[in-house]
Amino acid sequence: MKTADRPLSPHLQIYKWPLTMATSIMHRASGMWLSIGSAALVFWLICAALGPDSYAIAQSFFHSGWGIALLMLWAMAFFYHLCNGIRHLFWDAGKGFDIHVAHDVSWVVIGIAAACTIVTWIFGFIVMGGGA
């Protein structure tokens, strides 16, 4: 069977990503990123349990530039995963499946997550006294 010279579907060059697809992929990506963050949580707890010397290691890591950058990204992933996760719970209840509603709520999820993230970042920098 001759299959050459035919356009393939979907046409990936002109394919417009639906917003709901992007939010779905971001939900999984943020979840994977947060599972690494939960390993960092255990690292912190173990360092606290082992004594002052090991706690100082955790403290210096989480206060370093890299540590703060990671914490900021984990905060962003957390608030996104939280907001979109709550939307998933509404979907589980059978609400919000209409295409236009799902599209509009995607922007609401992104907006609330962004606002919470920025407030947390600002609060974090205030707590640290403008960068320790």
Partner: protein, 129 residues
């Protein structure tokens, strides 16, 4: 067409996914539990823990309700994480042996981290400040 399914098969309700609704329910259950737990933890990190020294951090953890919440948090986080990562692997890894191996490693790793986190909290609880 006659029905070739046994009554036992019908009552279990297992389809081609080879498992029932247990995974789905556990994922939602842990998700709902994690909403207050993680909001509380994030707030505590910023408000108390992040700037505390060693003694301050231990004093914070070494409170009964905090330790209870931390153990619940660690349990729910790694249960939820294990379930979520499992679905991602099942969706995208199609080589049978690699899929099985990845699922086993991920589950063991999540279990190990959960136990390590709980043990760390218990050590602070019993060994003390």
């Amino acid at each position: 067409m006659s029905n070739y399914r046994t009554p036992l098969r019908e009552v279990r309700g297992y389809g081609s996914a080879h498992h029932g609704t247990g995974h789905w329910i556990a994922q939602r259950f842990t998700a709902i539990a994690l909403i207050p737990l993680l909001l509380w933890f994030c707030f505590s990190l910023l408000y108390t823990v992040f700037t505390a020294d060693y003694a301050g951090a231990i004093a914070w953890i070494h409170q009964p309700w905090i330790m209870l919440a931390l153990i619940l948090l660690v349990s729910a986080v790694f249960y939820h994480s294990s379930l979520g990562l499992q679905v991602i692997v099942e969706d995208y890894v199609h080589t049978k042996w690699l899929k099985t191996a990845t699922l086993i490693v991920l589950r063991l790793f999540n279990f190990l981290l959960a136990i390590a986190g709980i043990l760390a909290v218990l050590r602070i609880a019993f060994v003390g400040v």
